[in-house]
Symmetry: C2
Subunit: 165 residues, 2 copies
DNA sequence: CTGATTGCAAATGCTTTGCACGCCA
DNA sequence: TGGCGTGCAAAGCATTTGCAATCAG
């Protein structure tokens, strides 16, 4: 679990007059136990595997809280459900590339992109708050070799392939 | 209506072995009658106002078709429903800025952004296909003057303010 | 104590689908 | 005529909500 989460959350909870509950603690631990993106349902499953007594509604409610506290970020991967990204604490301004061939999501940072977007935003008369860049792309290797290493990798790891419904 | 749509659509329809129907013609005319973004429900309403005999299902199905034909693009404005953008024919690679204060959506183009994203994508070993940048920002004028011209404008025009649900 | 939190099930809202009928090519 | 397209209502899915019971501070 990334250092500082508990503190930041306690802070948020105190400021908002909220309460520490076992359910919240547990859900938060699960959410930040890996650096993988997840949906509400996926987190619910993950939670259920080790703690059978947390309801789906509480998972949803806690996720909203974490987003509000800016510990978690909602991202849109184009599959008609909200995906949560726990990596913005480590990499505050990364972006996402989605491989059209296999659905694999690649995170990347680029200071130039940030800077440029910032300039464009100000030129338009706005103060930038948040930006999300999603790049959809084909894997070059699949194109050249007829095989997509990501696709193979995702088969091996059994990672869920994102798809439009 | 943007020139070339009918031709491109006819082409698509022919290639796919589909049919020209009154419903499709009508929905397409409605979709491209303004340069405003719209949701499926909004288009349905728009269509219903002038033609009472087109069903919601047909609107949804036709929208999918138009997206597949690359005449319409789906964009995510963060309000948990698909928004359709009819302006990609005119401006093939524009992006969106969403004003946090009033929900107003501003379209903008910037060749530098395109180029940079292209480079980044290739460096990662991918061939870029499509990119969507969404910038969320505050209106500087609201901050400085306590009044947001966009907010006022949107009140005047009665434009729907986008909001999280 | 007392209001925040939870669990459950029902409700919501957008979108898709099954099926019988109708219409384009 | 063959099947693609349509309309309708029902189904699906992710997500939210009302409410009574429970728990944290």
């Amino acid at each position: 679990m990334v250092a500082g989460i508990q503190e930041r959350l306690d802070d948020f909870v105190r400021r908002k007059g909220l309460r520490r509950t076992q359910q919240r603690e547990f859900i938060i631990k699960s959410a930040f136990s890996k650096d993988e993106h997840f949906t509400a349902e996926e987190l619910f499953d993950r939670v259920r595997k080790t703690n059978a007594h947390i309801s789906r509604a509480t998972v949803y409610r806690t996720l909203s809280l974490l987003v509000e506290a800016d510990l978690l970020r909602e991202i849109d991967l184009g599959d008609n459900q909200t995906t949560y990204d726990p990596n913005f604490l480590d990499k505050p301004s990364h972006n996402h590339l989605v491989c059209i061939d296999c659905g694999r999501v690649v995170e990347f940072e680029d200071a130039h992109i940030d800077l440029l977007n910032d300039c464009v935003t100000r030129r338009l008369g706005f103060k930038p708050v948040r930006q999300s860049l999603k790049i959809e792309a084909n894997c070059e290797q699949l194109r050249n070799n007829g095989r997509c290493p990501n696709l193979i990798a995702s088969r091996l790891t059994g990672k869920r392939l994102r798809k439009k419904r």
